[in-house]
C-alpha cells in the first residue's frame, strides 16, 4: 500500500493541489486506505475530468479509482452490468455497443469513469424522457468514512443513494455499481445538421427534435448580435436501420485545440463566423453509433486548459427567456465564449443535487482572463432569477448564496452527509470552497 506525494490539477488547470495520492488495486484495498486517512480528509478521483477543484484535496488525500475497472458480470438479456467505478464510458461503449447495448446517456466525452459520472450527475445529448443516469442505476456499494460498505438503491438506504448521485464524492466512495445498459435500437444513427438563423429558430428546432430525435445538440455562435443572437448549427440524430452513407462533410478529427493566439478576442468572432458559414444549410449522413458519440474526445477547437466552464440548466418555461438574456448580454458585452452549446435535457428526480431539469442546458466555456469572474457571477445571478441551476461538476465560481437558491435538495444532501460522514472525512477543495463558505467568513 503506497501513498505518493503528487501535484494534481483540474482539467482546466485553473486549480491545483498537493496531495497524498493512493491507487487501490482492488475494492478490498479501499477500506484499508480509508483507515489510514487523517483529519485532512480524502476525495475520490476518476479520470480527472472535472474542470476545477472537485477532485482535488489540498494537503489531504486523494484516492484514484482508475485501477478499479473490473467488470463483475454482464447479463446479455437484461443489460445489467455490475462493475467497479473506474470503468470508463468509452470502454463500456467499446465492449457492449457491438452486442447491441449502449450507455443510457450519450455524453460529450467518453473518458469519464462511471464513478465520476455518477458523482457528477452527468447528463447527455439524449432527448428522450427517461434519459437521466439515476434511472439506470440499480444499486451501488458505497464505502463510508468508517470503512464499512453499504449497498444503496432507490428503496434501501435511499437517502444515501440520492446524496451520492451528484454528490461530488463527498458522501462516500462508490466501490461497485449495478447499471442497466439500454438496448440499442439500431446499429447506425442518422445525423442531420442544419443552420438556425437565430434563437427563435433554434428553440423551435429543439422543440421538434425533442419529439422526433434520439440525440440533439446545437453549437451556438455567441458573437452574433442583434436579430442574429443565438444563431447556431443544430445537430440531431436518430437511430436507423439504413446502412452507413453520407453527404455531410465531417469536421477533421483532431486531438489538440487551436493555438491560443487564434482564440483571442479579435479572432474569436471571425472563427465563429467562418464556422457558421461553412456549415451547409442542411446536410445529413448515416454513421455508426460509436462514431457519433463522444464528439469532444476527437474534436476540440479549444483545449480545456485555462478555461472556465459554466453549464446552466433551465426549465422549459424559463429556458428560452434565460438563454436569450445570457446570449444577448454576451454579445453586448462582447465577451465571447470559446465554446457554446445548447441541448435539451431530461428531468433528474432522484439526486439531491440534481443538475438537469426537463428543459434546456446552455454550456459556455470562457478563456480565463482578468475581470471575467465578476461577469460570470452576474450570469449565475441571471440563472438564479430564472430558477435555473449551474452544474457543480465543472464549476469554479459557485457561492453558497447561489447554491441555496439553485439546489432545493441541498438540505437533504447536508443531512445525508451529517448522517453518513459526520466528521467530514470525505472532503475536497470544492467542498471547502462552496459548502464551508460561512465557516471561512468567520
Amino acid at each position: 500500500m503506497h501513498w505518493y506525494q503528487m501535484k494534481l490539477l483540474g482539467r482546466a488547470q485553473t486549480h491545483s493541489s498537493d496531495s497524498q495520492v493512493c491507487r487501490p488495486d482492488t475494492v478490498a484495498d479501499v477500506s484499508k486506505y480509508m483507515e489510514q486517512v487523517g483529519k485532512s480528509g480524502i476525495i475520490a478521483r476518476g479520470s480527472g475530468s472535472a474542470y476545477a477543484d472537485q477532485a482535488l484535496n489540498s494537503g489531504g488525500a486523494v484516492m484514484m479509482s482508475d485501477r478499479l475497472d473490473r467488470i463483475r458480470s454482464f447479463d446479455e438479456k437484461t443489460g445489467e452490468l455490475v462493475c467497479e467505478p473506474g470503468l470508463t464510458l468509452e470502454t463500456i461503449t467499446h465492449l457492449f455497443a457491438p452486442r447491441g447495448f449502449m450507455f443510457p446517456i450519450a455524453t460529450g466525452s467518453g473518458r469519464r469513469t462511471l464513478g465520476g459520472a455518477i458523482a457528477s450527475n452527468l447528463f447527455g445529448m439524449n432527448c428522450r424522457k427517461k434519459a437521466a443516469l439515476s434511472q439506470a442505476i440499480k444499486w451501488m456499494d458505497i464505502v463510508l468514512a468508517d470503512g464499512s460498505t453499504v449497498r444503496a438503491d432507490k428503496q434501501n438506504n435511499a437517502d444515501l443513494f440520492s446524496a451520492v448521485i451528484g454528490g461530488q464524492g463527498l458522501i462516500g466512495f462508490i466501490s461497485l455499481i449495478s447499471i442497466t445498459l439500454s438496448k440499442r435500437p439500431d446499429r447506425n444513427v442518422h445525423v442531420v445538421r442544419r443552420r438556425c438563423a437565430n434563437l427563435d429558430a433554434l428553440l423551435d428546432a429543439l422543440r421538434d427534435a425533442r419529439k422526433s430525435a434520439d440525440f440533439c445538440v446545437a453549437w451556438v455562435d455567441t458573437s452574433a448580435r442583434g436579430a442574429a443572437v443565438g444563431r447556431s448549427v443544430l445537430k440531431t440524430a436518430s437511430f436507423t436501420a439504413d446502412p452507413v452513407s453520407g453527404s455531410l462533410v465531417s469536421m477533421p478529427k483532431i486531438k489538440r485545440g487551436l493555438p491560443r493566439f487564434m482564440l483571442n478576442l479579435a479572432a474569436m468572432p471571425l472563427i465563429k463566423d467562418i464556422r457558421y458559414r461553412l456549415s451547409s444549410g442542411k446536410a445529413d449522413k448515416i454513421v455508426p453509433y460509436e462514431d457519433f458519440i463522444y464528439p469532444s474526445d476527437h474534436f476540440g477547437v479549444v483545449s480545456p486548459k485555462n478555461v472556465y466552464q459554466l453549464r446552466f440548466s433551465f426549465s422549459e418555461a424559463e429556458g428560452p427567456q434565460a438563454i436569450r438574456q445570457i446570449l444577448t448580454e454576451l454579445s453586448e458585452m462582447r465577451i465571447h465564449a470559446c465554446r457554446a452549446v445548447v441541448q435539451p435535457t431530461a428531468d433528474e428526480t432522484v439526486a439531491d443535487l440534481a443538475f438537469p431539469m426537463r428543459g434546456y442546458c446552455l454550456s459556455l466555456d470562457f478563456i480565463r482572463r482578468k475581470g471575467l469572474e465578476e461577469f460570470l457571477r452576474h450570469l449565475m445571478m441571471i440563472a438564479c432569477e430564472h430558477k435555473g441551476r449551474v452544474a457543480l461538476c465543472n464549476d469554479a465560481l459557485m457561492e453558497m448564496r447561489f447554491l441555496f437558491r439553485m439546489y432545493k435538495g441541498l438540505e437533504a444532501f447536508t443531512a445525508a452527509r451529517k448522517k453518513y460522514d459526520p466528521q467530514e472525512k470525505f472532503d475536497s477543495d470544492f467542498a471547502r470552497r462552496v459548502l464551508k463558505e460561512d465557516d471561512n467568513d468567520e
Binding site: H2, Q5, M6, D25, A28, S73, F74, L95
Partner: protein
C-alpha cells in the same frame, strides 16, 4: 493442436498483466491467469469473461516463491488447452529505495520475484515451447534496469539482472524458432510514484503498453522500449543526467 494461442499471464493481478490479458482476449486468444491471490484471479477471470465472452479464460494459483511447483503448473496448463502456448510475464514486486534502506530483506524479496522466480518459470516453460516448436515469450522489463536512479536503484538492479539473462535466453530460444521479447517500460509508476520529467508529462498508459506488448510479440524483436521514446530517455539519463530532474517534487 490448433493455431490459436493460449497466453499464460504471470502477474495477472497487476495492472499491466490485467491490461495484457484483456488485449489478448479481445484479439481472440484464450487466457490462463497465473498468480498468488486467488480472489484477485477470480475477479480478473470474471472481468475477462464479461469483456470477451467467446474466449476461454481460466486461472491457476501460483506462488512465485515456490519455484518447485512451476513444472507441475506448466504441465497443467498444457493439459488445459489444445492451443499453442505463449507466455507473458508481468511478474514483479517493487519497493522504493527508502523502503529497501530500512529493510534489506526487501531487496532479497525483489530478487526472488523479479529475477529468480521469472528465470525458473521461463526455463520450465521453455521445454514446453521447444516441444511445440513455436510460441512467443514477452517479458516486462524496465528502463530502471538501464541506469541507476536514486529512488529505485535496488529495483533497477533486479531488472538489470533479468535483462542480461533474457539476452542470452533470446539467443538460445531464437535458434529453435521461439522469440523472447523484452519490453522495457519507461517510468511506469511501480516504484517512485509518478515522476514527471522535462520532456513529457504522462505515465505510460497500461492499455497502450499491453497493446504494444501484444504487437511486438509476433515481431521476433529482442528488445523494445515503451513508450518508444523511452530509449531516448535512457540516453538522456546516461549522458545528460543533469536534465533529469523530477518536476513533481
Amino acid at each position: 493442436m490448433t493455431n490459436k494461442r493460449t497466453w499464460l499471464v504471470l502477474g495477472a493481478a497487476s495492472i499491466i498483466g490485467r491490461a495484457f490479458a484483456r488485449e489478448a482476449a479481445e484479439a481472440g486468444n484464450d487466457i490462463i491467469l497465473l498468480g498468488k491471490e486467488v480472489d484477485d484471479l477470480k475477479l480478473a477471470t470474471l472481468d475477462l469473461q464479461a469483456r470477451s465472452p467467446d474466449v476461454a479464460v481460466t486461472y491457476m494459483e501460483m506462488d512465485p516463491a515456490n519455484v518447485d511447483s512451476f513444472g507441475d503448473i506448466i504441465a497443467k496448463c498444457e493439459e488445459t488447452t489444445q492451443n499453442i502456448i505463449s507466455v507473458f510475464s508481468a511478474l514483479e514486486t517493487a519497493y522504493t529505495q527508502k523502503e529497501c534502506g530500512k529493510d534489506l530483506g526487501k531487496i532479497k524479496n525483489m530478487f526472488q520475484i523479479n529475477y529468480f522466480s521469472q528465470v525458473c518459470f521461463l526455463t520450465a516453460a521453455s521445454a514446453l515451447l521447444q516441444k511445440q516448436g513455436c510460441g512467443e515469450i514477452v517479458v516486462l522489463g524496465s528502463t530502471a534496469g538501464e541506469f541507476g536512479m536514486p529512488d529505485n536503484y535496488a529495483y533497477g538492479s533486479t531488472k538489470a539482472a533479468l535483462h542480461v539473462w533474457l539476452q542470452g535466453f533470446y539467443e538460445q530460444m531464437a535458434s529453435q524458432g521461439i522469440y523472447v521479447t523484452t519490453i522495457k517500460v519507461d517510468d511506469y509508476d511501480t516504484v517512485g510514484g509518478d515522476r514527471r520529467y522535462l520532456l513529457y508529462h504522462h505515465s505510460p498508459d497500461p492499455k497502450e503498453c499491453a497493446k504494444a506488448c501484444l504487437k511486438y510479440a509476433g515481431t521476433k524483436v529482442k528488445v523494445r522500449y515503451f513508450p518508444w521514446y523511452g530509449f531516448f530517455s535512457v540516453l538522456r539519463r546516461r549522458f545528460f543526467p543533469a536534465l533529469v530532474r523530477p518536476l513533481n517534487k
